[in-house]
């Protein structure tokens, strides 16, 4: 899994994930997200377009990031979610908490 964090505006960052978001990387992803929030990025947009597979532990890492962001008064949003990831979001009903946005630009602008 490759994690790239690109600033997008003063307090926002786009997190580009590449590869499998599963239990093997969950704890690293969670830590990187928490660190990004600590560095001052209150709005994290996760670009999921290059994520090939997501499992529940991977989703758990995103929830960890969401918690960090919300505690800092910000938010975490998903963008460009693929079919398998979307199915996982629906299966776990997590889509009611993490609404997927069609693309990064919309996720950055919303709300």
């Amino acid at each position: 899994m490759e994690i790239t964090i690109n600033p997008a505006g003063e307090q926002a960052a786009v997190v580009q994930l590449r590869g499998r978001l599963d239990l093997l990387v969950a704890s690293e992803v969670k830590q990187r997200l928490a660190k990004a929030v600590q560095e001052g990025f209150r709005l994290l947009v996760i670009d999921m377009s290059d994520v090939s597979f997501v499992d529940s532990s991977g989703l758990g890492a995103l929830i960890g990031g969401l918690k960090a962001a919300r505690m800092a008064g910000g938010d975490l949003r998903l963008a460009s979610v693929g079919a398998q990831a979307m199915a996982m979001l629906e299966l776990t009903t997590l889509n009611r908490v993490l609404r997927p946005y069609p693309n990064v630009a919309e996720a950055l602008q919303a709300g």
Partner: protein, 659 residues
């Protein structure tokens, strides 16, 4: 091995193989369950309509209620064992699974844990072993290192947060390891080398979340004075629950699928967020209505419209939730509407809002959080006097406060001190399957003194009642009827304390004071009751089928004070946020001290003995002529004495001197 233990030793009167005998037994159980329920109904209908002695109405109704309780118990038990499932040989374990073995410990002696660690490392199927030391003990770390076992303690993120005992210990390890399957062992459960080979095969079915195997203790002295073995539970009861896809996860000697834990954790996280939003809305409703009632004439013009707007915001949000909108949409819109409502109040009042606000924030934020787990706090908060302006501000803060704090996903349930039962119920409620594999694959150590044994029993009972009150199996969405009954069966059995007291006191009241709860011990009474009791015992015998269950029966009756204490303390914990109690006694092993632990049972035994003496001597002296009822009650009292005597034996038990 217990899987093949039933038939071969029996004399062959009929030329049946093991399979046929097992099938015969399962059929017989079904017949007896139904017969028992019919006979019980036949007896109780008559008891309720024709036999109550209204001259002693309180006593009569109490006994009748206790009998109803028992009937419901036997109904739940009957349903539980109705589809008894004996799985026999497990499917072979597929190669190449990624498996972790967790050994949980807290403050056990290092050398005791070493035995478990060594055996765990030696498990045949390829795996990683980790010692999860919640005591953070350097000696434990050194031992793990010597034995070639991974060592995990709490990471820094737990500092300052609720540690959630064993559940927290497990979740901390889940974050730091990467196995797809996890075998969980208590520090004193020494695994056999084949434990994974015998259980992993079940996971070929991708819907299976966990496989539980028995907990069996090897240090139990002859006669099992503390009733440590649970041959009925780790046997017919779990097999019965398994038949309904409701086998319980019991915290140790079980293999779990990580994906199932994670997915269920997320599912319940989402449920929890929704619950919190609804709770915030409910609280907002109460606050607004109260403010409306308190409006003074001078304020009415400015503030009433704002309060009406708030009311609308609450009902809109509720409708959107029902419609299935995402929580973010719902809460954002709600916040926007509340802001608008707040702006309706003229700027002149801002000053007052600010001063009211200061008083709300600090003190109430904490209380509102607590109200999530505590109905009483919520009621208190809603009752509190606030100025209407402060009410608006409270509503504005409610949702962010409640929802942001909720952002935590927990793969292991933390609503109860028995996280295992709660977690397995949640797994079942999310559609996962479970397996009970009835083969001893670990050798455990049971508590060796009465105090520890009672403490353990109290914890189980308290935890079970916590789950009953917080996530009732009858209400939890997603469970099948059979699963609801399988969970309720176990929970219901922990409410037996008060009915037992009634049963114990009944012969005393009759023999000493002549109080009879039935209007006559007529022939009809006996021919309605006797078949019911006989079939009940027969059913129990067939279900037990060669397993020693007498000790367990004695304890379930004799521990009535403990069951009552468990229910009271667990209810006080769930409803009023009180701490769960402990058994308080000195830890030194001195026989005399332990009699204090069983004082209620002793008192009851004295009463029963005196009552027997009084009844029999009055009969012998010719002071009373009701010979038959006296004999029946004496018989009943003697039975009670035999049941109760188990705790006296246990309190006085002296372990043989170690050689």
């Amino acid at each position: 091995m217990r899987v093949v233990s039933t038939a071969p030793t029996r004399q062959r009167l009929i030329d049946w193989g093991q399979e046929e005998w097992a099938a015969f037994r399962r059929g017989l159980i079904k017949i007896l369950v139904v017969t028992n329920l019919v006979l019980g109904a036949y007896y109780l209908l008559w008891r309720g309509t024709a036999s109550l002695n209204w001259d002693a109405w309180l006593f009569a109704l109490a006994l009748f209620a206790a009998e109803l309780y028992s009937y419901i118990s036997s109904f739940l038990f009957g349903v539980t064992v109705f589809r008894l499932r004996e799985r026999g040989e497990p499917p072979p374990a597929p190669a190449g699974l990624r498996v972790d073995v967790y050994i949980t410990c807290y403050n056990e002696p290092v050398e005791l844990v070493r035995k478990t660690v060594r055996a765990a490392v030696a498990i045949r199927y390829p795996h990683q072993t980790y010692l999860l030391d919640d005591g953070d003990n350097p000696a434990m770390r050194a031992m793990a290192c010597e034995e070639g076992c991974g060592y995990i303690t709490r990471s820094a993120v737990w500092k300052g947060f609720d540690r959630h005992a064993k559940a927290g210990n497990l979740m901390n390890a889940l974050e730091q390891t990467t196995g797809d399957f996890i075998l969980i062992l208590d520090a004193d459960q020494v695994p056999l080398p084949q434990i994974l080979d015998r259980t992993l095969g079940y996971f070929n079915d991708p819907r299976v979340a966990f496989v539980q195997t028995p907990q069996y203790f090897i240090n139990v002295p002859p006669g099992d004075p503390f009733g440590s073995q649970a041959p009925l539970f780790y046997g017919p009861i779990q097999q019965g629950k398994d038949g309904w896809n409701a086998a319980f996860f019991c915290g140790s000697n079980a293999v779990l699928r990580r994906e199932a834990l994670a997915r269920t954790g997320i599912h319940f996280f989402v449920r929890d967020v929704e619950r919190r939003i609804r709770r915030a809305l409910r609280e907002a409703d109460t606050v607004i209505r109260r403010a409306q009632r308190k409006l003074m004439r001078t304020e009415r013009q400015q503030i009433a419209p704002a309060l009406r707007a708030l009311c609308r915001a609450v009902s809109d949000a509720r409708r959107e939730l029902d419609r299935g909108d995402t929580f973010q949409e719902v809460t954002e819109r709600f916040q926007r509407r509340v802001e608008e409502a707040a702006r309706m109040v003229v700027a002149a009042d801002l000053q007052q809002i600010m001063s009211d606000l200061a008083e709300i924030q600090a003190a109430e934020a904490a209380e509102i959080m607590r109200s999530l787990h505590d109905e009483a706090v919520l009621a208190e908060l809603a009752r509190r006097d606030r100025s209407p302006l402060a009410a608006i501000e409270t509503v504005r803060q409610l949702v962010p406060l409640l929802v942001n704090e909720a952002m935590d996903y927990l793969p292991i349930s933390t609503i109860s001190v028995t996280e295992d039962m709660s977690t397995s119920m949640r797994l079942h409620a999310t559609g996962w399957r479970s397996v009970y594999h009835d083969e001893i694959l670990a050798h455990g150590l049971a508590p060796e003194d009465l105090r520890s044994a009672l403490q353990q029993r109290l914890r189980w009972a308290q935890g079970t009642i916590q789950v009953f009150l917080r996530e009732n199996p009858l209400l939890l969405p997603g469970l099948s009827i059979g699963q609801r009954i399988a969970y309720l069966d176990t929970m219901w059995s922990y409410f037996s304390g008060v009915p037992t007291v009634i049963y114990l006191i009944a012969p005393v009241l009759f023999l000493m004071f002549g109080l009879l709860p039935v209007n006559a011990l007529s022939a009809e009474f006996f021919w309605r009751l006797t078949p019911y009791l006989l079939v009940n015992q027969l059913l129990f015998a067939v279900i037990s089928w060669g397993r020693p269950t007498w000790r367990g029966q004695q304890y379930s009756l004799a521990l009535f004070p403990l069951w009552i204490k468990a229910v009271v303390t667990a209810a006080a914990n769930v409803w009023f946020g009180k701490k769960l109690g402990f058994i308080v006694t000195p830890k030194t092993r001195q026989a005399g001290r332990y009699l204090g632990l069983v004082r209620w049972q002793l008192l009851m035994m004295v009463l029963l003995t005196v009552a027997i003496g009084v009844g029999l001597s009055q009969l012998a002296l010719g002071w009373r002529s009701d010979g038959m009822p006296v004999l029946v009650n004496v018989f009943w009292a003697v039975y009670d004495l035999i049941m109760l005597s188990v705790v006296i034996d246990a309190a006085l038990y002296q372990p043989p001197e170690e050689q």
